[in-house]
Symmetry: C2
Subunit: 337 residues, 2 copies
């Protein structure tokens, strides 16, 4: 706590704007040596914002509009399902059930990923079938087992509200007909890029507050590196963005990225999920069949690393992963028209 | 604006606790005479809180627990429907579709009433089949076309989370087994009693700020009284709490309160809906068949008062009703376990 305050002073004094990652580096070099420096240096704190694409600048107007669209159930054919139904802010911006439930109670075959920090991912969906959030945003609206509404109809719905036509005009100034699919995607992506979880104990630790993680969490960090978890779970979101073959025992057959690419090498391959907020985004894996984080760590060790971890190591890693739970975005309910 | 600030000073200076209704009376006697005093005196401003039952004292712990339960989708059998699905804070704490959509997309036969100010109602549901919010709270959880979960199973679900067992212990101290149906109802009712919308232009006007309503809204107020709307729409929530026969042309047949009481005199009778926030809780009537507030006013005049209002009068009343839109509760998302 003392060190947090000290770095707060440092931030205000030296680095006034977007100081998080700069401070991260400064913090590391200033940090006490707690014996874990070589491990700590393998990780990166979460930047304040993910990369912003050059053709979708992040503006207040787009973020506000995107927030309205994210909570808007009338762009689903039932009228009651919105993005926030499955990406529920009260449940870590996911749903905490094994597989997503959508239109008319239909159950999808995959677990809902959290949208938190999703702007830091190199591709979207478990199978990576979209490159970015703009590409991802429209899929669930028209998917027959999710929101089940034709995009044309969704656009018509939005156009029927003056509050929306005005907001689209403000968010996309100078366009003749701004209420369109592309702009819905851009606004949703913009809002989602603000849903980040900074200042987890892990981030504060990486920025130099050596007391932000417990000794057990530091042991977990070392075990995470020494056992090879970091080979795939690396970078600010703790994912390499790559696809790895992974078959759950007893899980329903899901051919993963193969369905998209048709490449045999992609059979049963899924994108490495990020680990930020993993403590609050259970259940785990692409089919959501595992509730317990310790069990998930064991399964990963066996399947991906071919090793069996002792119970103490699993507990240490589990506690380390809990240190990755950051501050939830402070989002209030929008007032929809 | 000047007068609002003045009454703010007055409130702080003279009446420190729950001063709204006291101030209301003081304000009225101090108010400028704008020519509408005889009409103004027929109405009551919304108190800060509705009546609190003696066997369910309103405590911070119950309100917090009730808020969690209100947003908890895992007490529905699909795992994605919560009270907040139909009573959506982004949509005036209702759903803005004609009839409620629940489990597996089933469509109910009645329009979702807002929970805003529902603690001021003398009975609950369109047919008044429950006396109070405690009686109302459990119905939608077990209703087969709403959340569709047996209450026993809902209780088991809640008991499986330590965060809930702890909260129930705190909210109902000294009880051996506090996670039970009665307490779920009490906590939900407590939360709902905080969902009030004070300080609408109408309330500020009634409390003495003669500039809080426009001249048109004041004309609408006079027309509302002179045409007899106030006969049923009276009291702080603008409802008499009574049941009146009302058949919508073209609406599906719904026998209303008769289904509950079996009394012929209750056939097609529904409880007078409150009018607070009516501008943001469309569509209207028990079957939600009317979107437009002006059309709803016309239908009411014809059906209930046997009169045809001229267009100007309807517009005046409509603007008056918009003055009843108050400040929405400032509710953030709970962090569910």
């Amino acid at each position: 706590m003392r060190r947090v305050k000290a770095s707060g002073v440092l931030r205000r004094g030296i680095i006034a704007v977007a100081g998080v990652s700069l401070l991260g580096m400064a913090g590391q070099s200033l940090a006490d040596d707690d014996g874990y420096a070589e491990y700590r240096d393998r990780f990166e704190p979460l930047p304040a914002l993910p990369p912003i694409p050059s053709d979708n600048s992040l503006t207040k107007e787009k973020i506000e509009l995107g927030k309205m669209l994210f909570f808007e159930p009338r762009i689903s054919s039932s009228g009651v399902i919105s993005c926030a139904t499955c990406h529920n802010p009260a449940l870590g911006w996911a749903d905490r059930i094994p597989q997503a439930v959508g239109h008319q109670g239909q159950v999808g075959k995959r677990n809902t990923p959290t949208v938190l920090n999703s702007g830091f991912l190199d591709s979207q969906f478990w199978d990576g079938r979209e490159d970015d959030l703009e590409g991802q945003a429209l899929g669930p609206i028209e998917d027959a087992i999710e929101m089940a509404m034709d995009l044309d109809e969704a656009i018509e719905q939005l156009e029927s509200f003056e509050a929306y036509t005005e907001r689209f005009d403000e968010a996309f100034p100078g366009q003749d007909d701004p209420v369109n699919e592309e702009n819905v995607a851009k606004a949703l992506a913009s809002f989602q890029r603000t849903l980040n979880t900074p200042n987890s104990p892990f981030d504060r630790y990486l920025r130099g507050d050596t007391e932000a993680m417990s000794e057990q969490q530091k042991r977990g960090m070392a075990a995470f590196v020494d056992n090879g978890c970091i080979a795939c779970h690396s970078g600010p979101a703790l994912t390499d963005g790559q696809f790895h073959r992974f078959e759950l025992p007893d899980g329903p057959t899901d051919e993963g990225r193969y369905v998209i690419t048709g490449d045999e090498s992609d059979k049963y391959a899924f994108r490495t999920p990020g680990l930020r907020n993993v403590g609050v985004t259970y259940p785990y894996f692409h089919n959501g069949m595992v509730d317990d984080l310790g069990e998930a760590i064991n399964i990963m060790a066996e399947q991906m690393l071919g090793s069996e971890l002792d119970d103490d190591t699993v507990e240490d890693i589990e506690q380390f992963l809990h240190a990755m739970t950051g501050e939830m975005p402070d989002i209030s309910f929008p007032a929809l028209p």
